[in-house]
Amino acid sequence: MEGDSVKLLGFWGSPAVLRVKWALAVKGIECQYVEEDLSNKSDMLLKYNPVHKKVPVLVHQGKPLAESLLILEYIDETWKQNPLLPHSPYERAQARFWSKFVDDKCMPTVVAAFSKVGEEQQKAAEEARENLKRLEVGLEGKQFFGGDNIGFADIAIGWLPYWIEIAEEVVAINLIDAGSMPKLNSWFHAFIDIPIIKELLPPRHKLLHHTKAFLQA
């Protein structure tokens, strides 16, 4: 749309930013992408997200939006093609629930599993595996969280197994295993095989290097 400028402030290694990139790609929205140096945040970022000072920030028609899951909702409500959320209120609630579950429960335990040591690490890894296993409930009877096609929850969650796979190369623990989490495993492989998803993934070697630096700091 003419004069309908969309700008995305991001960081190449951020999963939250990746969610927004994926959502825009699914909807076919062109945007101007601005890479932020998170160790030296731009005035623009600080102006557009004064409360959290974080990426992603989506700027649409000059108005800033922060928080990746909120941005996904905004994108879905503003551009109606290729809906991300399903139609029924109950299914929408499920999509929102699983997305929040990943952020609130899975992520902290996964991060702990990779960053702690000894007994604490074992405990965190156990919890992380339990949480990951629970995601399979959301996939019951479906190929994707969104059903036959990817939707809101797939975009919100799909980055996690990619990041975990890479972290498992740095720290020798195993969180996602095809034996005990077959549905999650096959969902993930089907998800990242999708061309628009695959082409936006941060390059594996670059992310591995970045993750090593992060975990070993």
Binding site: H60, E67, Y74, Y90
Partner: protein, 229 residues
């Protein structure tokens, strides 16, 4: 109208389950209130919410919905009268943002301030007051966050008007200084005087007694302090 077979699993002192009740009452939706003893969880709660084992749970037409903010959106999408969220996508994003902000910054910080001691309390109070400062800017010049009428953000933030004063009393501390935060204090009065809200508040004395007990038992862990402050 879809109001048949609506149940809400609640805990009387929970700021999370009450927002579900407020939303249903505003919409005129009848529901069955089921009290949960959160320290002695019922089979029903564990069956309906095996993942978090927490209230609230909304059960509509036998299907459970979890997480209070997810429930509020479900309620707004299912019962169209008295819309809670605004129509405009940017305004909706704004409301959701501030609901999350108050939850993640103010709620935990004020609770931690109440149960912690010494330096930890001071730190928590600073975080709490900074958050209130930001929320103050959002309510300036408005009767409710929703404008002339109560909306989503009023319901999502409504706990501030009733729970924080209790925390302040139990913790012998001040967060909502009326001189520093006149707009939010005015909003609190408007909110608590709204007929639907006024009619559905837990007894204050019971709340004070309950949180005194919690204060004796609960202390924030190092992890809590790192995560929320």
């Amino acid at each position: 109208m879809g109001s048949e077979d609506v149940k809400v699993l609640c805990f009387w002192a929970s700021p999370f389950s009450i927002r579900v009740e407020w939303a249903l009452k505003l919409k005129g939706v009848d529901y069955e209130y089921i009290e949960q003893d959160v320290f002695n969880k019922s089979t029903l709660l564990l069956e309906l919410n095996p993942i978090h084992k927490k209230v609230p749970v909304l059960v509509h037409a036998s299907k459970p919905i979890l997480e209070s903010f997810v429930i509020l959106e479900y309620i707004d999408e299912t019962w169209k009268q008295h819309p809670l969220l605004p129509q405009d996508p940017y305004q909706r994003a704004h409301d959701r943002f501030w609901a999350n902000f108050a939850e993640n910054k103010l709620l935990y910080a004020s609770f931690i301030a109440m149960v912690a001691t010494g330096d930890d309390t001071e730190k928590a109070l600073n975080v709490a007051r900074d958050s209130v400062e930001k929320i103050e800017q959002e309510i300036k010049g408005k009767k409710f966050f929703g404008g002339d009428n109560i909306g989503y953000l009023d319901i999502a933030l409504g706990w501030i008007s009733y729970w924080i004063p209790v925390y302040e009393e139990v913790g012998s501390m001040q967060i909502l200084d009326p001189l520093r935060f006149p707009a939010i204090n005015a909003w609190m009065t408007n909110f608590l005087n709204h007929p639907v809200i006024k009619d559905r508040l837990p007894p204050r004395d019971d709340m004070v007694a309950y949180f005194h007990t919690r204060k004796k038992i609960v202390s924030p862990t190092y992890h809590d302090l790192m995560k929320y402050l």
